[in-house]
């Protein structure tokens, strides 16, 4: 479908309120006023004007003809019936008296109900409920059929930052309805339909934009020692020596020297263990130690040969050091040591107090939930895009689970006393004029 062109979509000169979270749109919405001059025009002009203004918001990307086919003059509404009232009365009290109900009694009854607080399931406090029934704003439901569209529902569920973007999600195959990919943005949701949008797309649409690639600072290369090396005594020393004397900083000769020294130290240490604990060692472990010494010797020889390449030597040394570390302890000892270390690290992480540790853990958890990840198409850690709060509302006819970016279309939007569920920025009379335009009878 060819879409309408987007020139002056968020213009300031001839403002139109749109279905987007744009800051220009917010300003235009703020400036939206009820113009008095319109009432001096003809009825046709008024209707035309109201239709143009409301249609610029409600599904402006949908062709007029399509919307005309969707338009329905029957508007849905619902009434909250109190079961307590229904149980106490059979309805005859409304027909008693002079045929139009005993007004006085009914009003009294309602007031008494309000006082008791038996009603009030509608989410409002019983005391605030008006004694006289207020009108049902049917005309605000003019564009209700559009809210059934899949792209509109995605926008209303706060999964996209504009209706057009929601439409694009469908077309690009990022939306599922009841677990089946749905590529039609014009699919009309049935009550009970569940729609899911790709998590990454939602995060991109609603999150801050990623700065351009050349502006992002390259993360500093961290020279973190391996955890195994930290725990070691003798073997770790050799490893540290390797690390500290740092191959990348020194020239090759120095690197060779350092590697030789480290291998020497590993060899010495292994020999020392064998000689000192000759009787305690099992044959199997002794054999392993000897194999390690052999490996270290061969590595030593390779390094000493001046023409052989140095690549991979540091890896070999690290492996040997780790092996030595493991061999040094019997399996039971290793387990016990690991446990003790874990306990020690839990007891005081960097010497923090109880409260500080709690805060530290919270921070760690927050970082785990919202990590810095340059591979994502949005700025990380994720933050909502600017001016989102002014547009963040979820209508009652949807049940949304934000964690999995899924929602259920519970029912069609309805009007009830004093409330209409179709989110429209326009006042009652403007929607009424638009309704009359589409009625083609006024």
């Amino acid at each position: 479908m060819k879409l309408r062109r987007l020139s002056r979509f968020h213009g300031l000169k001839r403002p139109r309120v749109r279905q987007t979270w744009n800051k220009f749109n917010l300003y235009n919405l703020y400036r939206l006023r009820e113009p008095s001059y319109i009432f001096h025009k003809t009825f046709f002009q008024q209707k035309w004007w109201a239709k143009a203004a409301t249609r610029a918001y409600h599904g402006e990307h949908i062709k007029e003809r399509k919307w005309e086919l969707m338009f329905n003059r029957r508007l849905l509404s619902a009434v909250d019936m109190d079961p307590a009232y229904l149980a106490a009365n059979d309805g005859s009290e409304l027909a008693s008296g002079r045929g139009s109900g005993l007004h006085q009694r009914v009003a009294e009854l309602r007031m008494a109900e309000d006082g008791e607080g038996t009603t009030g399931r509608d989410g409002t406090k019983p005391a605030r409920r008006p004694a006289a029934p207020c009108a049902t704003p049917y005309m605000q439901m003019t564009y209700a059929p559009l809210e059934r569209r899949l792209d509109q529902a995605i926008f209303r569920a706060l999964f996209a930052s504009s209706a057009r973007q929601a439409r694009q999600f469908c077309v690009h195959g990022a939306v599922k309805v009841n677990g089946v990919k749905m590529k039609y943005p014009g699919y009309l949701l049935n009550p009970g339909d569940m729609f899911q949008v790709d998590v990454d797309r939602v995060m991109t649409a609603t999150g801050r934009r990623k700065p351009p690639a050349n502006k992002t600072a390259t993360p500093k290369k961290e020279n973190t020692p391996k955890p195994a090396a930290e725990a070691a005594d003798g073997a770790a020393e050799s490893q540290e020596a390797v690390k500290d004397e740092a191959f990348e900083e020194l020239d090759e000769a120095a690197a060779r020297e350092a590697a030789l020294k480290a291998l020497e130290r590993i060899k010495e240490h292994a020999k020392l263990i064998i000689t000192s604990t000759r009787d305690d060692l099992s044959a199997k472990r002794k054999r392993a130690f000897r194999a390690l010494i052999r490996d270290a010797r061969s590595a030593h020889w390779h390094v000493r040969k001046s023409d052989s390449p140095l690549e991979g030597t540091d890896n070999t040394i690290e492996d040997l050091a780790a092996m030595l570390l493991q061999l040094e302890l019997s399996p039971a000892e290793a387990k016990a040591k690991e446990k003790a270390e874990k306990e020690a690290s839990e007891a005081d992480v960097f010497g923090l107090s109880q409260d500080e540790r709690k805060i530290f853990e919270q921070l760690v958890q927050a970082d785990k939930e919202n990590p810095i990840d340059p591979s994502k198409p949005y700025a990380t850690p994720w933050k909502p895009r600017p001016y989102m709060p002014a547009f963040a509302f979820i209508p009652r006819y949807l049940e949304v689970n934000q964690k999995i970016c899924s929602a259920v279309y519970l029912r069609h939007p309805v009007a009830r006393q004093g409330l209409a569920e179709v989110p429209t920025p326009f006042p009652f009379w403007m929607n009424q004029l638009a309704f009359n335009w589409y009625l083609r009878r006024g």
Binding site: L12, K13, F24, L26, Y27, L29, Y30, L32, E34, A78, D80, M81, D82, A84, L86, A87, A88, G91, A95, G120, R121, G123, Q140, N178, M182, Y184, Y187, L188, N190, P191, G192, M194, V202, M203, N370, P381, W382, K383, P384, M388, P389, A390, A392, F393, I394, P395, R396, E399, V400, N401, K403, I404, S406, V408, L410, V414, L419, P423, T424, P425
Partner: protein, 343 residues
């Protein structure tokens, strides 16, 4: 036709080479204009005159509209830029003069941003149905949450738990921040969530009927329904949770509250069980109609089909299979191909 006079900016750069011309774009700010003057300075001095250092045209500034917009963003608009934890409903319509907090649009008081279920509320609902095994209707009545919403919460929660188990990436920061922006309901007994006894207003009941009856007659809701149309049901029969009406009737009869509650719980449990039984019987009947033949490679399923189902024209919706001489219309131009429902 006389030649069109070019703008002074273009004249200003007349002497420069073309790449410079292309790099210059009419700017809206004074600073940018100054920058443009600097670019002209890079031109070879031999071709230059003194005029290149200034221009007679006034520098283009922001339009008044644009200026106002930016001022607004800096002053009043600042409030709407970022969410503040613990302060939901940052809407344009949410001003101090207006009492309901969730008014989103300044001109539309009829649309209110109503609270949504919080994470804890959803967990509460899930727990009471899946762990405590309470009937759906009872949970709905207890928390005053629409039955359809309760079912939807369970459905979504099941997927969420599955994702959690699979270790799939979830939109956690997004969820947290959205629930900070919109009003939420934690489902406490003092704060009911939504009306659960909604009755759809039937079109037939919106007319005014003059119906003469005798004064001595008790004209009840059932009579009124009949007056609107033969098939119109009275409200009592349209309740979403009819057990709730029975519960209130028990109370009116003078039953003790505790007993009435027990009766209600029993009735809702029974209705749920009945529905499950009915579904089971239905599926069993369906299975009976089928004949399964299991070969080592496939399982063939045979079903009795009536040919008459195709109808006189062979296009009946309930008909099965393709019939000779009846072409499909699904590739024709102008036919809507969007599915109407997804199972």
């Amino acid at each position: 036709m006389p030649p069109r006079i070019r703008s002074s900016q273009a004249l200003l750069l007349n002497g420069c080479s073309s790449p410079l011309l292309s790099s210059f774009t009419p700017s809206h700010t004074v600073a940018a204009a100054a920058g443009a003057a600097q670019t002209t300075r890079q031109c070879p001095p031999s071709q230059h005159t003194q005029t290149s250092y200034f221009s007679t045209t006034a520098p283009l500034e922001l339009t008044r509209l644009r200026r106002d917009f930016e001022t607004w963003l800096r002053t009043q608009g600042k409030r709407y830029r970022d969410p503040t934890p613990g302060e939901p409903c940052r809407y344009l319509g949410n001003t101090k003069q207006f009492s309901p907090k969730g008014k989103v649009f300044p001109l539309n008081p009829e649309f209110i941003s109503q609270p949504v279920l919080s994470e804890s509320a959803r967990e509460k609902i899930w727990r009471s149905v899946m762990v405590d095994a309470q009937p759906l209707k009872a949970v709905s009545a207890k928390y005053s949450v629409d039955m359809r919403r309760v079912a939807a919460v369970l459905r979504l929660k099941a997927i969420e738990k599955q994702w959690e188990q699979e270790g799939k990436q979830m939109a956690l920061p997004y969820a947290k921040s959205v629930l900070e922006m919109v009003p939420v309901n934690h489902l406490t007994p003092e704060r009911p969530h939504e009306p659960i006894n909604d009755i759809h207003v039937h079109g037939y009941t919106m007319q005014q009927i003059f119906l003469p009856t005798s004064e001595s007659r008790e004209f009840t809701r059932a009579d009124a329904a009949k007056a609107f149309g033969e098939h119109i049901l009275p409200v009592d029969q349209k309740m979403r949770i009819p057990e709730l009406l029975a519960f209130e009737k028990d109370l009116v009869k003078g039953e003790e509250r505790r007993t009435a509650e027990e009766n209600f719980y029993e009735a809702t449990t029974k209705s749920e069980r009945d529905i499950a039984d009915r579904e089971l019987i239905k599926s069993q009947l369906e299975e009976k109609r089928k004949l399964r033949v299991d070969t080592d490679r496939f399982e063939f399923r045979f079903e009795q089909i009536s040919v008459d189902k195709a109808g006189r024209k062979g296009r009946s919706r309930s008909a099965v299979g393709w019939r000779y001489g009846v072409p499909y219309n699904d590739r024709r131009r102008g036919v809507v191909k969007i599915p109407t429902s997804v199972e």
